[in-house]
């Protein structure tokens, strides 16, 4: 009976994932160029929010500074492309490594801080980043930023720029989700969650909390940094003003709305961050941010654990009921 139930859910999961992937593959051919660009943005934000979910959702360390790591990844990619002529696809790995290192450097002192104090330290990162970017203007182009050339699709593929970039980012997103799932469903992920839920018990069981907490930070910033690099590539422009504190807060909001301790929630969060501000603008020209704020409130009232966090268990519960009802009939 239990074996049946397990295979059942697994089958549904695979079917659902396959359907989503199929839809995502077909989508860019049904949309206009600008909408394809927007969809690409959603996926970039999804990767960034996924990084935050790993740190805050699965490991319990709050970060208000992920906009700063996003910026670090973006500028790493931009400087490599602009100054050293590195091809766009080759900038992802350096951006990932740089941001991983930054995350570990940040994660070590962060071990001292809990809750609001950690929030402040990460907030300092978010606030400092634009100012530092402006200050070191010889490298970063200062206020004007760096203008990049949007990459061309490889010859013979038959896609235009926007759609090629969509699939490029989509591939990275799939890779990111797979990597995150592997990490979080394995030993490391269980260690993360144990540290989040009961640090003392985790330590008593032999988990090296310092190492895993630092690792969580590094992995999280790696994801967000790669997202930043992708953003630089896709938008073709980086400037300090794109990476304000509001971006960090947007990531946090997207994370909470999607479901902080989920992987799928990151994609929902990406949708929220990209589309709700525009949607709010359509509703009210005068005070679009008020509508955005209202949307946040409504999502939090109706689904306090985020969309995937609330609907996920709800769906599983419904399927359980369905199966037991069907079993009773037999």
């Amino acid at each position: 009976m239990a074996r049946e139930a397990g295979t059942d859910i697994a089958l549904w999961r695979w079917a659902g994932a396959a359907a989503l992937i199929a839809a995502a593959v077909v989508l860019p051919f049904t949309l206009s160029n600008y909408h394809v660009f927007e969809a690409t943005q959603v996926m970039i934000y999804a990767i960034a929010v996924l990084g935050l979910n790993i740190l805050t959702g699965y490991n319990g360390q709050i970060s208000l500074g992920h906009g700063g790591f996003f910026a670090a990844g973006a500028y790493t990619a931009a400087i490599l492309m602009h100054r050293y002529g590195v091809p766009y696809w080759a900038t992802l790995l350096p951006a990932a490594l740089v941001c991983f290192a930054l995350g570990v450097i940040f994660g070590l002192p962060a071990l001292r801080f809990e809750g609001p104090y950690l929030a402040l330290v990460t907030l300092a990162m978010a606030v400092a980043m634009p100012q530092l970017l402006k200050y070191f203007d010889s490298v970063t182009g200062g206020n004007q930023g760096i203008v990049l050339v949007k990459p061309l699709p490889p010859p013979g593929i038959g896609l235009d720029r926007d759609r090629w970039l969509y699939f490029f980012v989509f591939a990275v997103l799939l890779l990111a989700i797979r990597a995150a799932a592997n990490l979080l469903n394995g030993r490391t992920g269980r260690a993360f969650v144990a540290i989040r839920d009961h640090p003392i018990a985790a330590a008593a069981m032999g988990i090296n909390t310092a190492r895993y907490k630092t690792l969580a930070f590094g992995v999280s910033t790696l994801f967000t940094g790669v997202a930043g690099a992708l953003a630089a590539i896709v938008i073709g422009f980086v400037a300090p003003e794109s990476f304000t504190l509001f971006l960090s807060i947007s990531f946090l909001v997207g994370s909470a709305v999607g479901g902080i301790a989920t992987i799928g929630g990151a994609v929902v969060g990406g949708f929220f961050i990209e589309f709700v501000p525009n949607f709010a603008n359509d509703i009210s020209e005068a005070a679009p941010w008020a509508i955005y704020g209202l949307a946040m409130l409504l999502f939090m009232y109706i689904m306090p654990r985020g969309v995937v966090g609330t609907l996920g268990p709800g769906l599983a519960h419904a399927m359980q009921q369905f199966r037991s009802a069907r079993g009773a009939e037999k």
């Binding site: 809990e114 104090y117 907030l123 946090l252 994370s255 306090p304």
Partner: protein, 289 residues
């Protein structure tokens, strides 16, 4: 030397504003374990209300008192209507709700009052004292803040409601068993915090000029001050706010120009936190295993 004293004193005056807002943040944190990101915007909105009253012809201090009352009621209503539904939800959910509030207040103020900078009247005459060491405005701000702090201290120490609030914040379950209406205490706490924020806004508006984004920088410094002092300690909030004010001023004058001022100030404070991870006056959270 003279300039140093001058800068320290004007830093104290700025610090008094940060201290007020930090105190509001700490009050709400102690009561509900929640950092209210909307505190600054609520204060800004209250300041606009005061501005409207003054523009309508009311004398300054009358407008001040009415604004305090309105803010108090507003804060209570916000706790009841907006925060109550997510009381038992994960903390992050409540934090996102306060972020939503922040946006709503900011946008609504911009919509009603527009984004142009407005002048806000100062109740204090524009004079310098002690040979240009300090201005009457600075002294006035510090005096008002001090008066408010003393009033709050007396309220919490010597009144029954104050005691009930402290009990509700420290141990809601026990407080309920003692017959204290915890929900009501939370609402009063939010009301008081809103009123304190209003004072901060009104004190700072003559200097920063009134616009919907006036308090965003102040909130950041207040948050820093509250944490420097220890997020669980009201005394710490005040001391922290004052230290942040002075540090910001001195760093800005002697160390580095405006752009990196915030970064340097934050780094200094984080260095302090490394040695005292719970803030200067904060108590470490001790958990029973």
């Amino acid at each position: 030397m003279h300039q140093l004293l001058q800068q320290i004193f004007s830093g104290l005056a700025a610090g008094a504003v940060y201290a007020s807002l930090a105190l509001a943040l700490v009050m709400i944190y102690r009561a509900t374990d929640l950092v209210n990101f909307a505190q600054g915007e609520m204060a800004m909105f209250s300041t606009y209300i005061a501005w409207s009253l003054v523009n309508a012809g009311l004398p300054f201090w009358a407008a001040f008192l009415i604004t305090l009352a309105v803010s108090f009621i507003g804060g209570m209503l916000i706790e009841r209507i907006v925060i109550r539904p997510v009381e038992n939800a994960p903390i992050l959910t409540a934090v996102v709700v306060t972020i939503g509030l922040l946006l709503i207040f900011n946008a609504t103020a911009g919509w009603i009052y527009s984004y142009t900078l407005q002048e806000f009247p100062s109740p204090f005459p524009d004079r310098t004292l002690f040979g240009a060491l300090m201005t009457t405005r600075d002294v006035g701000v510090i005096a008002v803040t001090l008066a408010m702090l003393i009033a709050l201290f007396c309220f919490f120490r010597f009144t029954a409601t104050g005691l009930a609030m402290r009990a509700a914040a420290q141990n809601p379950e026990s407080a309920r068993l003692s017959g204290i209406h915890v929900g009501r205490m939370l609402a009063i706490g939010w009301g008081l915090a809103a009123a304190i924020g209003a004072v901060a806004g009104i004190m700072v508006a003559p200097v920063l000029f009134l616009d919907p984004n006036m308090m965003s920088g102040v909130l950041l410094y207040a948050f820093t001050g509250a944490l420097l002092g220890g997020i669980t300690s009201p005394v710490g909030a005040v001391v922290g706010g004052l230290i942040v004010g002075v540090t910001e001023n001195l760093v800005g004058t002697y160390l580095i120009a405006s752009q990196l001022k915030l970064t340097v100030a934050l780094i200094l404070i984080i260095i302090v936190l490394v040695f005292r991870p719970n803030g200067l006056f904060g108590t470490a959270v001790v958990r029973r295993v």
